[in-house]
């Protein structure tokens, strides 16, 4: 088996800033846009870019993520001598292998990577919403003869203070890396996307863990080491829609942006499709009493209420007399009659009893957790 470039998706984060939504599931498995889970974007980008071997590194509540990814066939990632593998912690004769940080997670999975003998390794994050052609970045990496290429997003100078910023010379070579600089010198924010020459990275990791073991994190440890050792490190600028959905607020915001007909993400583009695990659900049913406007609805939904600027995910039931506005409802939620929901995210399999209210504001989105039950039982229709 051999593959030129292998991708590792770091999907291990506990996502604690997503609060109740990630209490019992990993962040990349959080539903998005009615029909997707967050990790679908990275996986689909891999397939569309021709990257056919993908390791997904996870250690936090992986049940739902595993059930979602299965054998990767949903994303075309099930070819012989390739495909997607979910990598979890395990024990060896040397002891238990828990992942301590992004770079350490790669170190712990060297055996897996070496099965495919890749020349290059693409490091991705499992919690970003974007469409990106990794092949273009890969061609850039090869053209620059880089040891490391960092995907960067040009942001405004005000925003730059919140990101890891890459300062480059006129050849786009990175000369300095500053984490959340107070006075940014550049606006190139790290997207957490890297292409490494694998033999070089492997040497850095193995050397580190046979001595001080300090190579835990790509941003904090590996990039500074590369820079100080003068490894050719370049910044590849990405132009397009990109959103980190690591907080309740940004997750809600990204869903609302997804609703915009002219959203830059362009989900309907059939040349760069976003795939997901699809269940064969019944068609959506919109009843006599329903009113649906400026909203997205998907299969399996039953809608008897008033839906305004809202996303309903698969198998959501909405009773009559209910009004839902500016909200995102996750799969299999059951919402009773005469409910009011406004500026909210309703978690998977949540149950909202008849007459209940879930009211947030644009700055403080209300959240109902996974399987949370609110108010009295829903009346059987």
């Amino acid at each position: 088996m051999s593959t030129e470039m292998l991708a590792m998706i770091l999907a291990g984060g506990q996502g604690s800033r997503l609060g109740k939504l990630t209490k019992s599931t990993a962040k990349p498995a959080v539903p998005f846009g009615g029909r997707y889970r967050i990790i679908d974007f990275a996986l689909s980008n891999c397939f569309n870019s021709g990257v056919n071997t993908v390791g997904v590194v996870t250690q936090y509540q992986p049940l739902e993520l595993n059930a979602h990814i299965q054998n990767g066939a949903s994303w075309g990632l099930d070819e012989k001598n390739a495909g997607v593998t979910v990598l979890q912690p395990f024990a060896s004769r040397e002891g238990e292998k828990w992942f301590q940080g992004t770079a350490h997670a790669i170190y712990q999975n060297i055996d897996y990577i070496d099965l495919y003998q890749p020349k290059y390794i693409l490091i991705l994050s499992g919690d970003h919403i974007y469409k990106m052609d990794y092949e273009a970045m890969f061609n850039y990496h090869k053209a620059k003869k880089a040891a490391l290429t960092v995907g960067v997003l040009p942001v405004s100078m005000e925003e730059a203070t919140r990101f890891g910023i890459m300062n480059t010379d006129e050849t786009e070579r990175i000369i300095e890396f500053e984490e959340k600089p107070k006075k940014p010198k550049s606006n190139l924010a790290s997207m957490g996307i890297y292409i490494f020459n694998w033999p070089t990275l492997k040497k850095y990791l193995v050397d580190s863990y046979s001595t001080d073991g300090k190579m835990e994190d790509f941003g904090k440890d590996v990039i500074p080491a590369y820079l100080s050792h003068n490894e050719p490190t370049y910044a590849y600028a990405f132009h397009g829609y990109w959103k980190d959905v690591g907080t309740i607020q940004s997750l809600w915001q990204a869903n609302m942006e997804f609703l915009e007909p002219n959203n830059e993400l362009n989900i309907g583009d059939r040349e760069w499709r976003i795939y997901s695990k699809n269940d064969a659900l019944p068609p959506m049913y919109v009843t006599k009493s329903a009113k649906v406007n400026n909203s997205m609805v998907v299969d399996g939904c039953y809608v008897a209420g008033d839906i305004e600027h809202t996303i309903l995910s698969q198998n959501v039931k909405v009773g009559s007399g209910t009004v839902i506005k500016d909200s995102m409802v996750m799969p299999n939620a059951v919402i009773g009659k005469d409910v009011t929901i406004d500026h909210a995210i309703i978690g998977e399999r949540a149950i909202i009893g008849d007459g209940a209210s879930v009211i947030g504001t644009e700055d403080d989105i209300a959240v109902v957790g996974f399987q949370e039950v609110l108010g009295k039982e829903v009346e059987d229709e």
């Binding site: 064969a280 919109v286 400026n294």
Partner: protein, 389 residues
Amino acid sequence: MRQNNVSAIIDLNEPSDALLPLTQFRPVGTLPFAGRYRLIDFPLSAISNAGIRDVGMFMPRSARSVQDHVRSGDAWNLDSIRGGIFTFPYVANKDYSDPANRRRYYDDYLTFLRKSDSSYTIVIGARNVDNINVQEVQQFHVEGNNPITVLYKRQLPDKVNANEEALNISDAGDVTTIMKASEITPDPVNHMVPMHMGVYFLRTSLLIDLLQNASQREEFIRLPEILHEALEVYNANGYEYTGFYANINTIKRYFDANMAMLDEANYQALLFSQREIFTKNLNEIPTFFSKGSDVNTSLLGTGCRIEGQANHSVIFRRVIIDRSAKVENSIIMQGSKIGPGSKLNYVILDKGVVIGPHLTIEGTPEKPIIFEKNMSVLRASDIKKGVQH
């Protein structure tokens, strides 16, 4: 708990002339239904839900739509290491004058049945909308007195055509003959007639005997006729099916059955039962309802963009209803587009039909107007391209 020792036979060569032009390039079995399905999903799901993994399919003349839909059978768990789908190629009707083709007809069935090594076989069509519990049928068969079990649905005589097949059931409860519906006296209490569903359950060994005997004959006789004859020779157990049922043999039936799914009770009973209806999985974006859209009492697939109105209609995936267009009492199949301001009432659009702007097309509940696949209706003079019969 172990998988049922039952094999299934689905014959996709069902009469389809009364469904033209919808059946011009597809058999009845792949007619789109209820915004999401094909008719063959119903027998395939019934089979899958009963744990049956050996399925023989007699392919129709236009096999492409069947192959595209069924593929490896994975949507119905029919791509397992054991069993799977076994297809019998289509033979043109007239070719059965050739003894080699006749022999192949029987040999195909016999090879499949022997290979399946099953104890029982269910023979089922692809034209029924229903949700049959095959395990219950098997139980009923095992407890019955007769070597064959046949399924029926009680219906009011005014809901059926006089020529449709009904079962003559003796006082002892045995099915003795198949007759025209008009020849059967309705039940004095409920005034209903037991209509033949065309579904048989019997021992595989008996079916093998019947096929072998038929192969010895001079004239050619198809499997449904073989079973019909056998029923009259042996008598049969009559299993009453009580769920939602439609036998799609005319445009009117097809239209009515789709409209019936807009009744919430039918939608829930047929599609959200314990026995799931499986169909091919599709990767499609959400359906977008724009500001000012107005949709009521309708079924919709994914990937649609609805800017106008839809009322009491069945809308498949990737349909566009443009601003101020209005669709009522209609069936709009995959990928069709309705231009701004156009009004459709009692219309069936096959896949990929384009309706231009500001057209009004009005059929009747008895005779909806049908537009064939990929047809363009751009100006008023094109409306006559529609078929009404």
